[in-house]
Every structure is written in structure tokens, then in C-alpha cells.
């Protein structure tokens, strides 16, 4: 039994379906591929799959991955070939092989975020944020509601590019199995205070990083 990790991008049209839908999509894709996938034993055999880090609906990513098990040892080329034509538009497989890091190593996700709106307002939003001591927002989960100081959690905010009616910046957001901060929280803060259309925002998860801020590949 060989645990295998497939890495993929979720871009373009694929941002419009949820993580839950993605799980079903991958399950069917593995079934279609005809790969010798390992099924759990028991009354209701199913494919055993673990997704590294869920991605919110509406966000793109270059660094998604999931693990599953194969009954035989296969090369990366064989796996990728078998998976051809099994996926929806916007899901692009990049590599397949043995898992290279453990999910618990993930501490940060690097995002590139493009905001749309009046350039001056966008610039002001970012510079206000950078000079603020504390930026508190309400983080709601299914069970709890709590205050979060974004300034203490988000690292390395860098404005990359500003143009007519847009502004692009990158930043590191806490991520991993213990704690996550959705970048949408920051964008919603901008939206509430500067009237930016949160839904028009482009999100691209570029990299996952460990505690030492090294990129996990």
C-alpha cells in the first residue's frame, strides 16, 4: 500500500465549487482513472482520501494537494496519465508521488490578493492598515465568535502592484491543522471600512510555509 500525494491547482472556473464538492469530484476522478486505488475495508468500502488544507469557495490556489493510497507502486507519469480527462475545468494536476511533508508542518499560507476599486482608496486602505497598531475583526466559526487582531496574525504584507482601479498585495496568513485565518477576513475589513467590493476580489494561494517560513514543496 503506497500513500500517494497528488498536487494540483484550483483556478478559473473551479473556484465556484466548494471544498465538499471538490472531495466528491476527486473521488469520482480516482474511480474514473482506473488506478488501483485502495478502498477501506468494512461494510461500506470507500476511497480513503485526505486533503491537506481546505480552500474557500471563490479563491484560487497553486498549491493544493490530497493523499490517497494505491495498491501498487506506480510512477508519477503513470498516475498523471491515468487521471487525464477525469477532472472539471480549472483543476490542474501538477505532481504525483510520495508525500513530501506532513500536514502538521504547515503554519502559514502565502496569498496574493487583488482588490478592485478606486486606486487612491485602495492605497489608503493598505497604508492605514500597515500603520495601525491594532486591527480587530470578529471571527465567526460554527460554534464560536471571537475577536481577532489581524495585525498580530498576518505577516509580511507587501504591496506588489497598483494600477488603474486595482491593487495587488501578498501576505502570510496563519494556516494548518491547528489554526487558520481566512484572508477573506482582511478583505471584509477593507470592504466594511473602505467600501471595496469584497466579492470582486481575486485570491491566489501561492505557497504553504512551515514555522521557519520556509516554503513547503
Amino acid at each position: 500500500m503506497n500513500t500517494t500525494r497528488i498536487k494540483f491547482q484550483k483556478v478559473g472556473l473551479a473556484i465556484y465549487f466548494s471544498h465538499l464538492d471538490l472531495q466528491k469530484v476527486m473521488q469520482r476522478a480516482l474511480k474514473k482513472s482506473g488506478l488501483p486505488v485502495w478502498y477501506s475495508k468494512g461494510f461500506n468500502p470507500h476511497i480513503y482520501m485526505t486533503f491537506t488544507l481546505p480552500l474557500s469557495l471563490g479563491q484560487e490556489s497553486l498549491c493544493e494537494s490530497f493523499d490517497f493510497r494505491l495498491n501498487e507502486e506506480l510512477t508519477e507519469a503513470e498516475i498523471l496519465k491515468a487521471m487525464e480527462g477525469t477532472l472539471p475545468q480549472g483543476i490542474v494536476l501538477t505532481t504525483a508521488g510520495a508525500p513530501d511533508y506532513e500536514a502538521k508542518e504547515i503554519k502559514y499560507a502565502q496569498y496574493r490578493i487583488t482588490l478592485y476599486g478606486d486606486t487612491d482608496i485602495l492605497k489608503k486602505a493598505l497604508s492605514d492598515y500597515e500603520s495601525a497598531e491594532k486591527v480587530t475583526v470578529i471571527k465567526q466559526s460554527k460554534k464560536t465568535t471571537k475577536e481577532v487582531n489581524l495585525k498580530a496574525e498576518i505577516r509580511n504584507v507587501n504591496v506588489n502592484e497598483t494600477g488603474e482601479n486595482y491593487l495587488t498585495f501578498t501576505a502570510l496568513f496563519p494556516a494548518g491543522i491547528d489554526y487558520n485565518l481566512n484572508p477573506a477576513l482582511l478583505v471584509e475589513y477593507f470592504s466594511e471600512n473602505y467600501g471595496i467590493d469584497a466579492n470582486a476580489t481575486d485570491y491566489l494561494r501561492q505557497n504553504l510555509l512551515n514555522e521557519k517560513l520556509e516554503i513547503l514543496q
Binding site: L13, Y16, F17, K31
Partner: protein
């Protein structure tokens, strides 16, 4: 493709993947390579439409043609509808995101009458005039298909053509003829004249309807040599006709999200209330080897973990058990479940239940339809008390504890005794459970779902006047009263108000088109969705147009009256329907088609007898 404005809207509505396409199995072509750009529209939500087998069949058969691109479109849910209106975004196809107004043809499938306002919604969001007469050369041809076209007279004025019957060959032929006409540069009218020659094509504007003073139809006159009656199209060699072995697999979960294989078409039963049982005649079953191989391919190509053997009555396939045995060979290995909807109480054998329960155990559903034997004989639901009891025993012995029963009320010849009989049947089933030494653990539950009967065209009950809502309410109250006998009996029934609209539209005529327009303009949409149905809007539309709903719904229609659908031929003759209605009045049942032929006329479409009777 999707610009920032649309993206922002998509991310502000529920389930945006309903509107984005790109699913595995969806077909992409180049607009430059095609002659006919066809939008197939299911006028309900994505999840409902993507569950529909007919759409998958026609999507595949049309896209097989190199010069045709068939794309999909669904009715945007109310949240998306509002956003599209607000931001002036025209409705677009899922594959290429082309605005509908730029298509060559838009084909609507009419599966139920309560979707009619959504036709107007789709046209409205596309900026296309509702009435065919108001459209010009710049507009797409608007086509209707599906079961409701057997009497789609209430929406006839909205359509340029209607495709009657089965579309496998007809739709392709329509595309071919259209492509020819387009090449020749024919006018819209001349194109319609050419299309009218295609078997199954009905051009509503080629038939003039004249009414009498009492509101009934005086005469229907064909123009331009249009055929009268206009016959539906069928697939004659259904046994060997291929079916889709690859389909679009939705990401947003469809209601029936599984592989579907159509094992047979038509129905031998002749239940007198059932429109499908008559309009899909003649009965034809598919070759078992083809089904088995096709089902295997379909599961392999889609990755589905469940395959459903669908039809009006799957257990009537003469070789169902062989098919299940053949499929077992690979379904077990591939970890695919087999689902068997539409089983009948009277031939639900022990080995069948064994084969299905091996797969999954949950609730079991069957449909006695009426509560007493006398009424079941009237409606020709040939199921006996003993058979219902036998099936309940089988189900309980097989581990089921929850049984769901479907009934109707408002049937011809129905009395309060028959209403009580519904509860008696449920009570009997509960008693059977407790009397069984080998019953499963737990308590039994019997859910009863009672629908209001709606008389439909091309059934023997097409003449019958629907019970008015007062009477239905009395019957519902009495049913609830009777149900107090046992709290393990759960009763549900539908709102009589939706039944009125459905009844009016089902047997309506062309004078209702303005009512539908007024209802839509008043805010009616997604009428089959409980949360969207607005009876007051419909009432206002009826009043504004001086339409008496009782004229359409509750009036007995004399045999010699010209019905709005009499110039259309779905195979069964009016004479047969009268004869069968007469039989029902005397509570005389008819045998299934494979045992005795009652000369309904559907075999004429086939050009031969439906069964080899000397063999039986």
C-alpha cells in the same frame, strides 16, 4: 468568459457552480466549426435539470453531430435572477457563456406545467420577446419538447415549433433541416414550413383555433398543408438504440446524482390516471446485453458509484433478473450500487428484494394509489390487498422498518369510504409488522403521501372534472381525522391551490398564454417550489383575463367536445380513451398490454404489434 462583474455576482449568490459549467463530461466545441448553436434549457434549477435523463440523452445525440453544438442552460434561482436583472447581465449558456439571444435555437423541455412561468423568466433574462409573433429574423427559434407538449396549447404562442414525442432522431433532424435553411438563407416563415415536414414537429402558428360562444373549441384549421393530426415521433428500434455512456457529472449535487440507464420505454400497465403510461406508448424494452455493457461503460466514464435502472416500471422488463445477475459480476468488483426505482408491488419478488437489499437498506416506497379495491379497479391500478400485504411482509423481513405509501384523492368514483381505506391500508401494514416474529428491531413507521388527482390529456380520465378545492379540503380533513387511529401513521398531502393551477394548465388552451404572462409579470416563478408559489398572483391573472378556472379544471368534458389537444396524435386514439373511461365507470379493469391488446392505437407508430401475443 467570466468578467469581474459576473464574478462578483456569482460569489454573492447561493451555489455559484450552478452557473459556471466546466463539469467533467461537458462538451466544448468551436463556434466557427458549427452551423447550429443550440441551447437546451431545463426551466428549473440546475440541480433539478441535471437529474433529468432526457436532457443527457439529447445532449449526447445532438453533440454527436459535428456541425451542431448543444449547450445547457437552467433557470437561475431567485437570488441570481435578481442580480442578473439588477446588473443587466443576459442569461448565458453554461459551456461557452454565450448570451441566449445569440443562439440559433433554444429548446425548452416541458416536464411539468408548473414550470411554464420559468420559460418566460428565461426569455425575459435573454431579452427575447415572449410571443412567437413578436419575434423576427434576429431572434433564435424557440422550441418546446418533453411530455407537456402533448397539450402545451397554453404556451403554444410562446413557441415557434414544438417537438412531439421522442427526440433522439427528431432533434438531430430539426438541426439538419435548420442548417440547410440557414445555408439557403430562407426566411423564418419558410424555415418553419420546412421544419413542419419533420416527423414529430408541430408548428403552433400553422394551426388556427376558433372558439364557440360557450368557450369550447369550434374548429382547428391547419395552414400551409400542416399535418392534421400531427403525430409524435418515436424510436422504433428502441431495443437496439444506444444510450449515453458518458454524461456531464455535476459538481453541485443534483437531486438524482447517479448514473442512469433507461431499461424500457412506455408502460404496459394502463393505470388510468397516469399520463406517462399513455403518452410514452408503445412499450419497448432494451436489449439486456446492451444495457449491461452500457451501464458498465457509463459507470467507468463518469465515476459514479450508483447506477439506477430507470423507467416507468422497471420490474416489467421481461429479463430484469438476468440483467441484475449480469451486472452483479462487475458492480461488486467496481463497488457500484444498483438502484431500482419504480418497482411494482405485484411483482416485487423475494429474489428481487434480496438483490436490492444486498446493496442498501433504508426506506421502501410503493404506490397503491387508492385505499380500496373498488377504487383501485376504477383507476386500473391492478394491485390487490394481498399483494400490498405480501410486499409489506417481504420488506419487513428484509429489514425495512419505514414504509412510504403514495395515494391520490379526488379520483373518479371516489367516496369518503375510499379516503378511510387509505388509513385502513396503513393500519393493516403496521399490524403486519407487529404480527411478524422475525420483524426487525424498532418500531414501524408508515408515511402516507396523498396527492390531489389532476386529470391529464391523453388519459382515460381526460374527460373527468377535477374535484373542486372545497371538496378536496373536506377529504383532507377527513383523512386527518381517520389517521388519529395510530400515531405511527404520518400523513402528508399537497396544497390544493397548486393542483388548481396544474389542472387548468394541463387541459388548457391558447387563451391561457396571456394569463401566464400576467402571472410572470406579477412575480410568479418556480411555481412548483413551495417557497415560491404565489396563488394570489395567479388568481389576479385569471381575474384580469376573465378566466374561470372551473371551466378548465372542474368541468366534465363531453366525449364529442373538441379538446385543445385533439389535433395532436400521441398514439392512443380518443375512441380508446372513451372506451377505457367507460370501463372505469363500471370498475372493470384492463389487463396489461402484454397480456391483451385493447387497440389503443400506439402500435401504429411502431408499424407492428407491440407484443408477440401467441407466445404469451
Amino acid at each position: 468568459m467570466i468578467d469581474n462583474k459576473l464574478k462578483s455576482i456569482l460569489l454573492s449568490v447561493q451555489k455559484p457552480a450552478r452557473y459556471t459549467g466546466g463539469e467533467p463530461g461537458c462538451i466544448m466545441k468551436n463556434k466557427e466549426d458549427i452551423d447550429v448553436h443550440f441551447a437546451f434549457c431545463f426551466p428549473d434549477t440546475y440541480e433539478v435539470g441535471m437529474s433529468h435523463l432526457g436532457m443527457k440523452i439529447l445532449y449526447e445525440s445532438m453533440n454527436k453531430l459535428d456541425n451542431v453544438w448543444c449547450e445547457r442552460v437552467f433557470a437561475p434561482w431567485t437570488d441570481m435572477h435578481e442580480k442578473m436583472k439588477e446588473h443587466n447581465i443576459p442569461l448565458y449558456t453554461l459551456e461557452s457563456k454565450t448570451p441566449l439571444s445569440e443562439m440559433d435555437m433554444i429548446g425548452f423541455t416541458l416536464q411539468y406545467e408548473l414550470s411554464y412561468t420559468n420559460i418566460l423568466q428565461v426569455l425575459d433574462l435573454s431579452g427575447i420577446p415572449f410571443m412567437a409573433k413578436d419575434r423576427n429574423e434576429s431572434h433564435p427559434l424557440i422550441i418546446a419538447g418533453g411530455p407537456c407538449t402533448c397539450n402545451a396549447e397554453p404556451v403554444a404562442d410562446f413557441f415557434d415549433i414544438m417537438a412531439l414525442g421522442e427526440g433522439e432522431f427528431m432533434n438531430s433532424e430539426i438541426c439538419n433541416v435548420y442548417a440547410e435553411c440557414k445555408k439557403k438563407g430562407l426566411s423564418r416563415l419558410d424555415t418553419l414550413k420546412e421544419l413542419a415536414k419533420v416527423e414529430g414537429v408541430y408548428v403552433p402558428s400553422f394551426y388556427e383555433v376558433e372558439y364557440k360562444e360557450d368557450g369550447t373549441i369550434k374548429e382547428v384549421k391547419p395552414l400551409y398543408d400542416a399535418p392534421i393530426p400531427c403525430n409524435k415521433a418515436i424510436v422504433r428500434d428502441f431495443a437496439n438504440h444506444p444510450f449515453p455512456t458518458d454524461t456531464v457529472v455535476p459538481m453541485v449535487t443534483a437531486i438524482h446524482n447517479r448514473a442512469m440507464v433507461e431499461v424500457l420505454r412506455g408502460c404496459i400497465r394502463g393505470c388510468r390516471f397516469c399520463q406517462a403510461g399513455f403518452i410514452y406508448r408503445p412499450f419497448r424494452e432494451r436489449n439486456v446485453d446492451m444495457l449491461n455493457k452500457g451501464a458498465y461503460e457509463l459507470c467507468k466514464n463518469t465515476g459514479y458509484e450508483e447506477v439506477s435502472l430507470t423507467s416507468l416500471s422497471t420490474s416489467d422488463h421481461s429479463q430484469l433478473e438476468k440483467l441484475l445477475d449480469d451486472m452483479e459480476d462487475w458492480t461488486q468488483e467496481q463497488k457500484v450500487n444498483i438502484a431500482l426505482p419504480s418497482l411494482r408491488v405485484d411483482n416485487f419478488s423475494e429474489s428481487l428484494i434480496e438483490k436490492t437489499t444486498k446493496i442498501r437498506k433504508s426506506g421502501l416506497t410503493f404506490a397503491p394509489e387508492a385505499g380500496t379495491q373498488r377504487l383501485r379497479d376504477i383507476i386500473n391500478k391492478n394491485v390487490t390487498e394481498e399483494e400490498i400485504e405480501k410486499t409489506a411482509k417481504l420488506a419487513f423481513a428484509g429489514g425495512y422498518t419505514h414504509v412510504k405509501l403514495y395515494f391520490m384523492m379526488g379520483l373518479p368514483g371516489e367516496t369518503m369510504e375510499d379516503i378511510k381505506g387509505i388509513i385502513d391500508t396503513a393500519q393493516k401494514i403496521i399490524e403486519i409488522f407487529w404480527s411478524m416474529p422475525n420483524r426487525p428491531k424498532g418500531k414501524p413507521e408508515v408515511s402516507i403521501s396523498v396527492a390531489t388527482f389532476i386529470p391529464k390529456p391523453f388519459t382515460p380520465f381526460q374527460f373527468f372534472g377535477q374535484n373542486d378545492s372545497e371538496l378536496i379540503k373536506q377529504k383532507q380533513a377527513y383523512l386527518l381525522e381517520c389517521a388519529k387511529v395510530n400515531k405511527r401513521i404520518k400523513v402528508s398531502y399537497n396544497d390544493p391551490q397548486t393542483s388548481i393551477i396544474e389542472a387548468v394548465l394541463a387541459r388548457g388552451d391558447r387563451r391561457l398564454s396571456q394569463v401566464i404572462i400576467d402571472a410572470y409579470n406579477g412575480g410568479a416563478m418556480f411555481d412548483s417550489w413551495f417557497e415560491c408559489f404565489k396563488f394570489d398572483v395567479w388568481q389576479a391573472a385569471f381575474e384580469k383575463n376573465n378566466v374561470d378556472t372551473a371551466f378548465y379544471a372542474n368541468r366534465f368534458r363531453p366525449y364529442d367536445e373538441i379538446n385543445p389537444w385533439d389535433h395532436i396524435n400521441y398514439g392512443v386514439s380518443k375512441k380508446f380513451l372513451i372506451d377505457d373511461y367507460e370501463r372505469s365507470l363500471k370498475a372493470i379493469t384492463s389487463k396489461p398490454c402484454n397480456k391483451q391488446c385493447y387497440n389503443c392505437g400506439a402500435n401504429k407508430l411502431l408499424g407492428r404489434a407491440c407484443f408477440e401475443y401467441n407466445k404469451n
